[in-house]
Structures are given as C-alpha cells and as structure tokens.
Amino acid sequence: MKSFAKYRYTTDQQFVVDIIANDSKALEYLLYDRFRRLLRFNAMKAAPNVPVDDLVQELYIYLSADNWTRLKKYDPELPFDRWLSVVSYRFFKDFSLRMIDSHRQIPITNIKDQQLLNAGTIQMTHIMMDIRQGLDKLEPPRDREILTALLVHDEEPQEVADRFKVTVDNLYNIKRRALAKLIQKHLLELKIEN
C-alpha cells in the first residue's frame, strides 16, 4: 500500500510544479489516487477494448516522456481536473483506435469499475437531459427542428436540407449556431455556476 499522505493537501498547481521538478511519486498520487475515478471512467468510456490499468500506465508514460514535455503545457489558470479529463480522454481514445487492430475485447469484470462506469454514465445522462430540455426550448423553432433531426433522429443532412429548403452548407451553419447556444447554456454556464 503506497503512502500518499504527504500529498493529501497539496494544490493541483503545486503538484505540477513538483512533478516537473522530478517528483514522480506526485504524479503517481494524481493518477492512482486523487483522480483515479475520473481516469477510470474516461478509460472505460473512451477505450472499452483496453484494460483500464494498462491505459493509466500508458498515460503515466505519455505525461512523463521527454522530461515532462506534455505536462509543461498545462496552464495553471485552468482547473487541473478539466485539463486532465480532456488530455486523458483523448489519449485513451487514440490509444484505443491504435489497439483495435488487435481485436481485443476486455469485458469489465470488476464490480467497482462497473459501478464507476454507471455513476459516470448517469452523470452524462443528466447533462444530456439538460441539453435535451434546452433543445426543446431552443429558438427559433427552425433551429430546434434541424438540430433534433440531425442529432436526435440521426437523419441524413441532405434530406434535412431538402425539407427545410436550405443548402447543406447552410444546414451546417444552422447546426453549428444551435449547438453553440445549447452547449453555452447547458454545459458551460452550469459549470461556471458550480
């Protein structure tokens, strides 16, 4: 059992400084203790075909490579959990795509991991429900209908464009604008409040 007691009250920003100063145990603490659940959820979501422990180990190597080059890009103005969530999710997904050739399918047998995945998925469902509710109230109605057709009903862009008598390029512009409103209102504003 590793003892990480001395790190318990260190700030995330201080961690990055310590790690870059070659305190590799601080990185172990971040990956295997403080953000363990966040990383496990991201691993299971982004790369279900790769064992979670392998992914976290690969992430450790990725962050520590070339004298912490990757970690040095972290901007201390940003919340570390958001930075780590983005970096880990994209890294896991990329790793998973590279592993697909091996056709490995690793079922999740660990009950705690399954519970973690469920908890994260429920949270994701809440966020999606917020967005869906926002979608129902989206104005103007045309934007709402187009976004619903594309995102919810997964209709072909050409069909939707024909129905609304717009070009496909225009349809994408409308989708982009509507998506911006939704994300801004139901993802970013909620986060800022929290």
């Binding site: 919340p79 959990d81 969530s85 949270q123 966020i127």
Partner: protein, 118 residues
C-alpha cells in the same frame, strides 16, 4: 486520426470546458464539434467525468478533515482545564485559611452534641 484533431489542442478544449476560451477560440471549438456528432458525445463524457468525480473529490476532502483544527481544539481545552485547576487551587488555599475557625467551630459543635447524646 490524432493528427487530424490536433488543430484543436487539449489545452484549447480544456479552456473551452472551463469557460475561459476567447470568442475566436469558442468559434474554432464549435466548428470542430459540429463536424462530427461523436465529438459532442466525447465532450459530454469529459465533462461528466469532471462533474461526477470532481464533486466526489470535494466531498471526500470535506470528510477527511485536517488534523490541526482538532489538535488546536484539544490544546484549547487542555489550557482551559489547566487554568481552571490553577484558579481552583489558588482559591482553595485562601478558603482553607479563612474557613479554618469555622471548621473548628463545627468540630466543637459536633463534640458538644456527642456529649449531650451520651
């Protein structure tokens, strides 16, 4: 795949998720998201991970309180008890001197009573 997505760096996406992106950066992220619906789902998953497990981290921190407040409270109580004992001792000495005759009187009363009884 990874190379194709590099124009939206992890740092830019993290800034966007933190509400700290500039309007130009927001626009670039939205272009990137609207190109592919799977990216929106990925963004939701990244966000859900932070929302769900970030909160648990805060709650965990609330439950695991640092030791020093408990120690300082214990030290305060110990100090109060110490001061209380010192005051009690001091006040106890002065009372015994002042009340010495009263005890003597009481004893004599008791003795007198006993003699009466006999």
């Amino acid at each position: 795949m990874r190379e194709a997505e590099q124009h939206i760096s992890d740092e830019l996406l993290a800034r966007y998720l933190s509400g700290k992106a500039t309007p130009e950066e927001e626009s670039a992220v939205l272009d990137y998201l609207s190109e592919n619906d799977e990216r929106v789902e990925d963004l939701l998953a990244m966000s859900a991970a932070v929302e769900q497990f970030g909160k648990q981290e805060v709650e965990q921190k609330k439950h695991v309180r640092p030791l020093w407040p408990a120690l300082s409270a214990a030290a305060s109580v110990a100090l109060l008890i110490g001061v209380g004992i010192a005051i009690w001792h001091n006040s106890g000495d002065s009372v015994s001197i002042d009340q010495a005759p009263a005890y003597a009187t009481q004893d004599s009363i008791v003795e007198t009573n006993m003699e009466d009884t006999l």
